[in-house]
């Protein structure tokens, strides 16, 4: 599958295994900033690691320190390869905006219709222009 996604925050082109979250997540308290492991025991993808994955997010909840956790993941080299959201999340994406200001290499964040999330499994590549390619298993 190929799709053109709108770039929300520019960054490095990324490729990785898709990780499609099936419930919204609170990054603060929900994702370990040192490892990228989903620490929220109530989350359906609890135990998965977001580092290096193309992360499909159906929304975030909770603390406004989500930006701090995402920036800490970038700083620790444990950020996702790319983030795919169905709507812009200003608090979370601020983590990427500030990390870029710090001169750190950041993944790209793009917007894609939520109905397209289900078809995204296997290996996903997001090019610099936001073009998203799913190469399957």
């Amino acid at each position: 599958m190929r799709a053109a996604a709108e770039i929300l925050v520019p960054g490095k082109a990324g490729e990785g295994e898709a990780l499609v979250l099936t419930a919204p997540i609170s990054f603060w308290g929900g994702v370990d900033p040192k490892t990228g492991r989903i620490a929220d025991v109530r989350h359906p993808q609890h135990g998965e690691v977001i580092a290096g994955r193309v992360l499909f997010l159906p929304g975030t909840i909770g603390s406004s320190s989500a930006s701090a956790v995402l920036m800490e993941l970038v700083h620790n080299g444990r950020a996702p390869a790319a983030l795919v959201l169905h709507e812009p999340d200003a608090i979370l994406l601020l983590g990427l905006i500030v990390a870029r200001e710090m001169g750190w290499e950041t993944p790209m964040a793009v917007r894609l219709g939520r109905d397209a999330f289900e078809t995204c499994g296997g290996r996903v590549r997001i090019a610099e222009d936001g073009a998203l390619t799913v190469s399957g298993e």
Binding site: S64, A66, S67, L94, A99
Partner: protein, 417 residues
């Protein structure tokens, strides 16, 4: 609709120094939020100085090195350390040193060393109708609802960037039309004695947050002003259980002289009629250790204790010796008053641990017990303590918290809704 910056804002954003970085952060956030422009702000309250990892410290130091200073009055929320030395924080090196560097960087940026989540009781009270950029959920909801100043929920990094630029994106609760209520939360079915009790407001706040989520509601059926500490407790609990940024109470909060004035339309979209049964369930939901036979500690002061709340604490302890510690979290504004006449020393002699500049759910203070039980009168502590401290919680009034601390086991006085 795209963001339009003034020539001055564009010129600052083009700079390679600290103010330039701050302006680009505000402008990029405004783009993501769909704000058409930036607006001037009168003050900020900054939650970004709490240590979550080294990157936040490096960010604050980069702003300092780039010559940035806050352009408006800026108070600081809690940090990860008790700089007043009242309590012992179990944060180890190197995190301890990085947390201290972070607090120091925010001081150098020109922020006031208030270190409190209740800045509104420490002399920072923006005027009704003024635009401000505040962070920390309880401070935001109090600022909007009780003071009637206008702010969105400003998260880490954006709060200090707004402080340096003196500007914020024009969207959300800065716009008067977005401040009107769509839901009615009617408490007229509850007894006046319950509404006059201390536990009413944290319990109702927790219920309110669950029911309304991020919508704006108006509370009806309240006769008489419940007092500022009650509104503080209501807002903090509501902002923990839901994404509440603004509430109204008819006849109490400044934007709601009556229902008609504050409702967005002729009729509310929904009316939530609160019954004694619903309240009993909400109250039970604040506890996770209902069967506990003993308690290990009591924690109060989320939001930070006011002087009036310390007076209640002293009156209830009445010089008795506590069997388990009461952690009493507060800010320097209240501590300064408490230091007079040896009041703090007397409380400590009873077994109270005064915690200043920070609190027990954001940094390690209480001993790690594995299966500890904590009693609290704060809806916010009840919400966050299990996840952040590992303690199970029991929710009770301040009077019951004190009696339980004296005995080392839970005591409950029945207060029917």
């Amino acid at each position: 609709m795209s963001l339009s910056l003034s020539p001055e804002e564009r010129a600052i954003a083009a700079r390679q120094d600290g103010p330039g970085m701050a302006m680009r952060i505000v402008a990029e956030s405004a783009c993501l939020l769909g704000a058409p422009r930036l607006i001037p702000i009168a003050s900020t309250h900054i939650d970004g100085a709490l240590y979550h990892g080294d990157s936040g410290t490096l960010f604050a130091e980069k702003l300092v090195d780039g010559g940035a200073k806050v352009a408006v009055r800026s108070t600081l929320n809690v940090g990860a350390l008790d700089l007043m030395g009242c309590s012992r924080i179990r944060l180890e090196e190197p995190q301890r040193g990085m947390a201290r560097r972070m607090m120091e960087a925010y001081r150098k940026l020109g922020c006031e060393q208030s270190w409190t989540c209740a800045p509104y009781q420490a002399g920072h009270r923006p005027a009704l109708g003024s635009d401000v950029a505040w962070g920390e959920s309880n401070a935001v909801v109090f600022c909007n609802s009780v003071l009637g100043a206008r702010t969105n929920r400003y998260g880490d990094f954006l709060d200090i960037a707004c402080a340096i630029t003196g500007r914020a994106p024009d969207y959300g609760l800065h716009r008067p039309d977005n401040r009107r209520a769509r839901l009615v939360f009617d408490v007229s079915g509850l007894s006046p004695s319950f509404l006059a009790s201390e536990i009413a407001w944290p319990v109702l706040g927790s219920l309110y947050g669950h029911e309304v989520g991020n919508a704006i509601g108006v509370v009806t059926g309240v006769t008489g002003h419940p007092g500022e500490d009650a509104l503080k407790a209501f807002g903090a609990a509501a902002a923990s259980s839901g994404a509440v940024g603004l509430f109204h109470i008819v006849g109490v909060t400044p934007e709601a002289p009556d229902v008609e004035t504050i409702l967005a339309g002729p009729e509310p979209e929904a009316v939530i009629r609160v019954t004694p049964e619903i309240v009993a369930k909400a109250r039970a939901g604040l506890s996770t250790a209902a069967a506990a036979k003993t308690i290990d500690a009591v924690a109060i002061g989320s939001p930070h204790l006011s002087n009036a709340e310390f007076e209640s604490l002293e009156r209830l302890i009445a010089g008795r010796r506590l069997a388990v510690p009461i952690y009493a979290c507060t800010g320097r504004h209240a501590l300064a008053v408490l230091e007079q006449d040896g009041r703090r020393k007397r409380l400590e002699a009873s077994g109270v641990v005064v915690v200043a500049d920070t609190c027990v759910v954001v940094t390690p203070i209480m001993p790690e017990l594995g299966n500890g039980v904590l009693m609290t009168n704060s809806g916010k502590f009840a919400h966050y303590a299990p996840g952040n401290t590992g303690y199970a919680v029991l929710y009770a009034s301040l009077a019951d918290c004190v009696e339980s601390a004296v005995l080392g086991k839970p005591v409950f006085t029945d207060i029917a809704a």
